[in-house]
């Protein structure tokens, strides 16, 4: 059953590859939350996010709203996948790093 180690090592390498890929993707995606503000009776969209302990509010043009929303959803999904990968890596690491 020595091959089990090889299989786990391959899975470990695959997960590391995925982890690196997802981390790169996260860097390219916006973070934060979209909020609507009413100013003088008009509605404006903003992206609020934290950067170096500072809260930043960024105006989002109407035509970019859907794209940013999709990117935020994608970010959320990638973070979920990344968490799952990191959890699995912790388990497999115990075996392959011995």
């Amino acid at each position: 059953m020595a091959f089990i180690y090889g299989v786990l090592k391959e899975e470990y390498d695959r997960m590391l590859e995925k982890k690196n890929d997802y981390e790169k993707k996260l860097n390219d995606l916006p973070k934060g939350a979209l909020v609507k503000k009413q100013i003088n009776g008009r509605s404006y969209n903003y992206l609020i996010f934290r950067e170096n302990k500072k809260v930043i509010t960024k105006y989002i043009k109407k035509e970019n709203f859907d794209t940013v929303q999709e990117q935020l959803e994608r970010r959320k999904k990638i973070k979920k996948s990344l968490k799952s990968i990191n959890d699995d890596l912790k388990i497999i690491k115990k075996v392959v790093k011995k």
Binding site: G6, E11, R14, K18, K80, D88, I91
Partner: protein, 232 residues
Amino acid sequence: MNDIAASQKTAFYQMIKAFHDVNALDHIIIIGSWAEYIYEESNQLNFVAALKTQDIDILVPNINRPVEKIDLVQVLEKEGFESRRSPDGLVKFDKDGQIDVEFLVREIGKGKMEPYKVNSLGVMAQGLRNMEILTDHTIVVNIKGFNVTVPKPAAYILHKLVINEERKPEYKQEKDINAVKGLVAVAKGTTLKNDMNSIYSTLTTKQQKKIINTCKKWDIELNKNLQAGMVR
């Protein structure tokens, strides 16, 4: 680890359903360790798949089919799969960090280092030799209401025996043999041995020799006639 297995299966069936919905299931064959899972799940054999890895290998038997193109990248991304390009140019699809979908095609002629573009399905695929053993001998099984194509278990075994010597890294040789032994052990009372004889007779002399050598090396008794080289 059971939770991992459950979420892997969920992701697998999401992929199968997505392919079913766009009529792509007729144009692909599930191979690799997930084919073993399908043998188990569809009661093809009284068999418990030993090991399922994250990668789901999908073999495209004919890169020119379907004639009416299907964009599988779009289909998978719509289902929440994330694509990533590996250093060798292949594009793989991950679902929630649980499975990794990869496409394969038959390598013919001189072969090439870079991946093949499968225009009919809009994917990049890795070319591998001896795949005709799998594409020429398939069965369609129904799992959870979906008709999924897999190699006949006999073809799956013989293919693994043919390619064993070239499997790299070396641990994959042992992994494959472990799977083969598991399948051979449940062959009694099934058509597996007859299927193996008839498929074996369609193989080239070179492939037959490889099977015999692999069986000798790993002490596998497939079929006395076959191993004596009597099946031609």
